[in-house]
Amino acid sequence: MSRILEIKKVSKTFGGLQAIADLDLAIDQGEILGLIGPNGSGKTTFFNLITGVYPPTNGHIFYKDKDITGLRPDEICARGIGRMFQHTVLFSTLTVFQNILVATHLHSKLSFWHSLFNTPVHKGREKKAELRALEVMKFVGLEGVKDDLASILPHGYQRSLGVAMALATDPQLLLLDEPTTGMNREETESMMELAKKISNEGVTVLLVEHNMKVVMGICRRVVVLNFGQRIAEGSPNEVSKNDAVIQAYLGADYAA
């Protein structure tokens, strides 16, 4: 199994705060990898480093054996890494359909002169982009709210829209940042089904989650972070019994 993402000795400091310390990680193609850890352990920073929001202070990130350290977020997205944000970020003045349509940007050419004169070439490209957006919408289950403004959607739908937009970029590696936050059991199960569906399509999934049922349910492998360092790795079962992990979450008193 080839490695789709490799993190080599990556560190990130913000002023005096070390958010990620000398982290090594490898993700195999096609797996669903869970990333857990207490709040503040560096999970979102880690995602930001991979997607190019800021460059690491040290170390390199390799995607499909190519160094992507220091590239812009849109360049990294073009290479095939899609991401869903932890805090719901959507284009609030656009509809669900328009949101997804914007996210198909990478896969349809937008040319100034063709757009200006509304040529048949332009019309053809727009049709293609719209069909693609419809496909993604159906895959995620959002057809029912197609023309609703993103800002008025119920929370669960907003999270689904976030996933849909990441999917619309046609990623081979999908980063999901706490997708089930604020969801009830039904919504959580839907999200889990969606993640499995995505994985079945051949997309590698890196999942940050706080909900242990989700992690146990769909991840084959789990990595645990604390204070920006990897403290455990293994199957969900192994990790849940790991002393260091228990200590990190519950404190030293509970460790064996």
Partner: protein
């Protein structure tokens, strides 16, 4: 209300206007109204990417002076100096846009503010023999007449013909801005303005699109500058200064920044208002400032949004254009 119908009505009204109100005083006002419509509409294109620019007056000044100066020094006609001036405007836009568009909010505004101030000072104090200094560039010629063989000669020495010339360019400006916004560019610009971190994350190259809007806006500012120069035939550094920058922002906010009509109606409404306000002398700009603040606070959608708010027109379900 169908957008195309409104456009058509506006266009017809503008075409027959000189027949209805033909006297020179009003024709002069209408010509300036059109020039300012070009400026505020093209500025709105830049606003739609979330960048509040104060560079428009400076770019228009560069273009106007370029066109006027070349017409005087080299005897070139407007029809040649206009494209060259627009090219100059686009080059200047790229030069100032590229380093500054990465900045947002106040920082970008401040740098463009400094740019426009700087241009005024440069024009007033340097190359006085060719640019005329603070007194201004004088005797800029009107566009050379167009000769249509065997039919007639179209000359631009009268207000009437210049009005239609300016109307022609105004229509082109509005159409281009409309087309860009209606296409997926409009969605991309909206996305960049709304949530640029997310836009980047779905693969949109922010600089490319912000620069595109900035340069297209700048080219039309250039058109307005040249039209101004060759109409008034005199150009001074005071014509495209801070005052204009503030007016353009006010026209956009009061008109309404959510639609393409906003700046059109804003410009018309406020320039007509300028006449009764003139009696207040220096307080005129203060009154406009108060109007700006009132609109920002109470009617943020601008004059255009008033029919919706009063319930006369049903609101559209989604925005985007």
């Amino acid at each position: 209300m169908n957008r195309n119908i409104v456009f058509a009505c506006l266009f017809v009204a503008a075409v027959v206007l000189p027949i209805v109100v033909g006297d020179l005083y009003w024709m002069d006002i209408f010509i300036f109204m059109l020039i300012f419509t070009i400026l505020s509409s093209s500025l709105r294109l830049i606003f739609s990417t979330g960048q509040i620019s104060f560079a428009h007056p400076g770019i228009a000044a560069i273009s106007g002076y370029c066109s006027g100066m070349m017409a005087i020094q080299f005897g070139l006609s407007f029809w040649i100096t206009l494209p060259i001036a627009c090219l100059a405007a686009s080059v200047v836009s790229i030069i100032i846009g590229y380093p500054t568009l990465r900045l947002k909010g106040v920082y970008f505004f401040l740098i463009t503010f400094m740019f426009t101030s700087l241009i005024g000072v440069l024009i007033g104090n340097f190359w006085i023999p060719i640019l005329g200094g603070w007194r201004g560039l004088l005797n800029i010629p009107r566009p050379k007449p167009i000769m249509i063989p065997y039919l007639f000669t179209l000359n631009f020495n009268t207000e009437l013909t210049y009005y239609y010339l300016t109307l022609f360019f105004t229509v082109i400006t509005v159409l281009v801005c409309y087309r860009i916004e209606k296409s997926r560019y409009g969605l991309v610009f909206n996305a960049i303005e709304n949530a640029d971190g997310l836009a980047e994350m779905v693969g949109i190259n922010l600089m490319k699109y912000k620069l595109l809007a900035f340069v297209v806006g700048g080219v039309f500012a250039g058109v307005a500058g040249a039209l101004f120069a060759h109409y008034q035939r005199i150009m001074t550094p005071y014509d495209f200064d801070m005052h204009l920058g503030i007016l353009l922002i006010i026209y956009n906010v009061v008109g309404g920044m959510n639609t393409i009509y906003g700046p059109i109606f804003g410009t018309i409404f406020l320039r007509l208002l300028a006449h009764p306000l003139r009696r207040f002398g220096v307080y005129e700009i203060m009154i406009l400032g108060v109007i700006l603040i009132l609109f920002l606070r109470f009617i943020p959608g601008g004059v255009i949004s008033i029919p919706e708010r009063l319930g006369i027109v049903r609101p559209k379900k989604s925005t985007g254009t």
